[in-house]
């Protein structure tokens, strides 16, 4: 399907659907809040003052634009297409997540909410939320699975230093999906004074829309930087996909550029055929979870399946609804790499370029290296370096059997 600007403008539709996906599947108590959020966001989306404040914060607080860096040595060692890195790891707080939390915190302020909640997996979204709350003087509560608290402990302490309260989630699989359940439960109880800052392009409408809008700065900058530096558009974009926010932010401004191939890389865990993975687009089927219809990992009875990934931020059984749509219409390719391949990608980028990526990002790195190797030298591949790997040192050390 050839996408046009008009087609994209019409999505999501009035009820928040991207084709068969998306929507607003929530209990009744939350409905009115979602309607209000949608109405206010539609107004602010076209408000030059709101947009100017967002842009100002991105420039002077986050440090945008982030560089587009030519990974010369990695390119030479790979021996194929030119590999370029979009450096979201250089943002304040170390990942793309902050683009979104800046935007949503502004919304919270416009709506007069004083209390903020968030879910987090790797802790990057929790840190980015705690950071903007510190800056705006908002009360901040972060829900995090007990298992993730263990494997991302540096980020837990960062959140606490920033003044956030971290709630350990002990239900279900004790990871990101359960953190999101508990955040929703808190929101139902405190809906009058609380703003829920969702960390990815999932959740009920209008979240997939507004998170995509806030993250699209990544793709807009990349487009302009690539034209400026290489004189043409990239041939392929590669991004990891957990809930899908860094990927959609990178892809969205290129959707109508047919020549640009889009690759979303899911967590293959121990291998797709083992069932121990977190790759709903590669191996799941459509269902409903966390307020939207999308590809999910579930058993034959519709119970959500446990997931596995070495990276906490990809360890999620669902994915943003717009990705489900892009998969079905064939505009983006969704692939996966295993834990081991991701770890290789992590080590490779660290040793060859001196850039230590997050384990989430390492999935994109690993796939992009394979992809670039199969492409001609005059082609350009851009990897979205969604975050830096400091938070993962303990995990990697544990795998290496080293105590740090």
């Amino acid at each position: 399907m050839k996408l046009t600007e008009e087609m994209l403008k019409a999505l999501p539709d009035a009820r928040g659907h991207f084709g068969a996906y998306g929507g607003r599947f929530v209990s009744e108590t939350l409905f009115d809040s979602l309607m209000t959020l949608e109405r206010e966001y539609k107004r602010l989306r076209d408000d030059p003052e709101f947009q100017a404040e967002f842009d100002r914060d991105l420039a002077h607080y986050v440090g945008r634009p982030s560089p587009l860096y030519f990974a010369e040595r990695l390119t030479r060692e790979t021996g194929g297409a030119q590999i370029w890195l979009k450096r979201e790891d250089l943002n304040h707080t170390g990942a793309h997540k902050v683009n979104n939390t800046i935007g949503q915190a502004l919304l919270a302020r416009f709506l007069g909410k004083k209390r903020v909640i968030a879910e987090t997996g790797a802790g990057q979204h929790g840190v980015a939320t705690a950071t903007v709350c510190a800056r705006l003087g908002l009360e901040c509560h972060v829900f995090m699975g007990e298992e993730d608290i263990r494997r991302q402990s540096p980020n837990v302490y960062r959140m606490k230093l920033l003044g956030a309260e971290v709630h350990s989630v002990t239900s279900g699989t004790r990871t990101l999906k359960d953190a999101m359940n508990d955040a929703m439960r808190d929101w139902v109880a405190n809906v009058d004074d609380t703003f829920y800052i969702i960390g990815t392009v999932a959740g009920p409408h209008p979240y997939p829309l507004l998170v995509r809008d806030f993250q699209s700065v990544i793709g807009r900058e990349t487009r302009a930087q690539c034209l400026d530096r290489t004189g043409k558009l990239p041939d392929a974009l590669v991004a990891c996909v957990g809930g899908g926010s860094n990927a959609i932010g990178m892809f969205y401004p290129f959707l109508t550029d047919e020549s640009v191939e889009l690759y979303g890389v899911e967590a293959g865990g121990l291998g797709i055929d083992t069932g121990q993975h977190a790759a709903p687009l590669s191996a799941g089927r459509p269902g409903v979870l966390h307020g939207n219809r999308t590809y999910l990992m579930e058993d034959e009875n519709g119970q959500i399946a446990g997931t596995h990934s070495v990276s906490a931020g990809l360890d999620y059984p669902g994915v943003g609804p717009e990705h489900s749509w892009l998969k079905d219409i064939g505009r983006a390719h969704y692939v996966s790499v295993t834990d081991d391949e991701a770890l290789d990608g992590f080590r490779k980028l660290t040793r060859v370029e001196g850039i230590m990526p997050a384990l989430e990002t390492a999935h994109a790195v690993a796939y992009a290296i394979k992809l670039a190797a199969s492409m001609d030298k005059d082609k350009v591949v851009v990897i979205n370096i969604s975050g830096r790997g400091d938070k993962d040192m303990q995990t990697v050390a544990e795998i290496d059997g080293i105590e740090v």
Binding site: R15, G23, R24, F25, V26, S27, E28, T29, L30, F31, D32, S33, S171, G172, K177, D178, N181, M184, R185, V188, A189, N190, V191, D192, G287, V288, L289, H290, G291, L296, E298, E300, N301, G302, Q303, I304
Partner: protein, 270 residues
Amino acid sequence: MSRIEGVLRTLREQGRKALIPYITAGDPHPDQTVGLMHTLVDAGADIIELGVPFSDPMADGPVIQQACERALRHGTSLRQVLAMVKTFREKDDATPIVLMGYLNPMEAMGQEKFADGAVDAGVDGILTVDLPPEEADEVAPLFTARNLDAIFLLAPTTTDDRIRAISEHSSGYVYYVSFKGVTGAGKIDVDEVAANVAHIHELTALPVAVGFGIRDAATAAAVGQVSDGVIVGSVLVDTIARNQADPDQLKRALSDLLHPMREALDSLPS
């Protein structure tokens, strides 16, 4: 007329209020559910809301979350829940059964297959917590065609326009959620409930049953006074959790909890 309508109409004619207990199917064990359903009826239940366990019950507090986990540990599937209702119907053809759950297990079965299975088992109504009427365009006609009542939630945050729209999509009764929060949490404010239910009664002719926060006979009576029925959930599920080791004691404990509620409701001036 559906079984639910029939029961609620008779109660109204008698000047009585509906007592609607909720338990999670498969909790504490799938073999016990049908027996517990009969116990609920013997203790005065007019309608039973039978929970379909789900791995991610977002609208539920810890008590019902853990009930779901217990039921799922024994592999309770939607197919089995339908089989339980069918077995229940062998001895009880009068008490309406409402399945209450989340959308994904129903979709996984296939909505048409689910609707057929529900009718075949003797289910009377479906309450899908995370399915607002806006998203029900496809399933609603499947239910209507089979005379299954679609029951939707109303909340303290529901606007008048939505109360009207939701009521139009509903049949049997509407379920008013008494407070903002998950099941088993919070404290019910009876005056606020009275005002809101009176307001809902102005906007729809359907019976209004109230759930969330009803844990004892006094509250049941106070809420029954201002509504058409009360739904009692977490306190029963909590009782199941505490008595799971002893099936006979469990039945007695559930009876002891419901009986006084039944009596309190029936002592209300009609």
